[in-house]
Amino acid sequence: MNLEEKLKSGKFVITSEIGPPKGTNIAPHIEEAEHLRGKADAFNVTDIQSSVMRLGSLATCRLLLEKGLEPVFQMTCRDRNRLALQSDLLSAAVFGIRNVLVLTGDHTVLGDHPQAKPVFDLDAVSLLKVASGLMEGKDMVGNELDGKPEFFLGAVVSPGYEPQELQLIKMEKKIEAGAKFFQTQAVYDLAAFEKFMKTASKFGVPILGGIVLLKSAGMAKFMNENVAGVNVPDRYIKMMAAADKKERANVSIGIAAELIKGMKDLCPGIHIMPLGWEKHVPAVLEASGF
């Protein structure tokens, strides 16, 4: 079963994430995914994450496929205009990549090439619509395609975003434009997530709750101050602060497992973003009862 079929079957779905390296040394990253074979259902591959130049998502997705692991091709609108975005979607299709997760993308000034031109020719909503059009055999201006691609299109949503009404309006627009599944920003507050899910589940589109492994109390505070829609409760910050360096990973695994167990009844699956801590994902899943 592929990702779409698993979500339809009602199986609790687990996706993880690979952040390609800055350089060509991809082998260790594929190896990390290998450790999750049979445990994670699919692997998102980030697209020049945080606007820091690195190996591409498309090539990494293809490498995963060659290993028999299912990729989710992340596509942002930051670096390509509408011609390149459509062309890369067709490229993904001929590589056998089916799952595409569409995002706006962080602004270029936040990364390591702040001098770069931010493109944003399309945005997440319009790119989803364009991808849907390709599936119907038409490019963005209505020209016929010789061979049409097939995608399982996804998008992101941020449950902690304020005002939530604005986030839900955009989510609905993404669904109208073709999004068939969602992955969320990191969730740390289960009560707030439950409230969000009550409203968002009316759309009838599967939502995978986001899990970001905490590496330290500092990281948690940084996210609270700087990352939109993320609110790590004091309780978790204190737990991370109290742990000595050797124990931190275990405490973090415990927190993630607590969140995942709490999410099991709220949403049809989870999306784990390890951000460099890929090696701890198997332990997180084990501690969560998978």
Partner: protein, 207 residues
Amino acid sequence: MLITKIKDRQEVLETLKDKNPFVFKCFGCREVSFPEAEIDNLLQEYRDCVKGIARIDYLCREEFTGRYLKAFAGEISSAKSILVFSCGVGVQVVSKLLEGKIVLPGCDTHYLNGFQGVTAQNADCEQCGQCWLNLTGGICPLTACSKSLLNGPCGGTKDGKCEVNPEMDCGWALIYERLKSIGRMDSLKKSAVNVRDYNLIIKGATK
């Protein structure tokens, strides 16, 4: 709004020392942000290098500037170059009027929309050729959003501020508030998927 900054000091010094310029200082829009004191200090320091200095309001008004240049015809013709402290529009006007003269900018123009020496406006227009204001409560998503998003905010808004600059309001947060207050949320919900047509931009528009 006009924002200019004095160009790289080394570059300006080279012009002053080697090219004995005639200098124009445009004061038309200076009240917004123009490095007036910095320019005056520099010119004072290198006053022996310059052929003359003319202070002018709204250099971008071609007809007026053309007449003004005639009053300085002698000094201009004896100068090796013309150094213009103004926005990019002013530099281009002088360059057009003084064919055959080396005309050099003294400033980098960071922002000039809505001003251009004609009238002051408190909002910016990107001259996109397909106005979105009817959908967005009169707040332009191209200029108010750092990614010029047309279909709602990105996920980078924190407390109503932009991910690019925490001092800057999220344009979409402003649009949302405005639409809510004027009872026009429907335009946000019902509008089709918006995409820009860059082919509508008139060549030579400022952005």
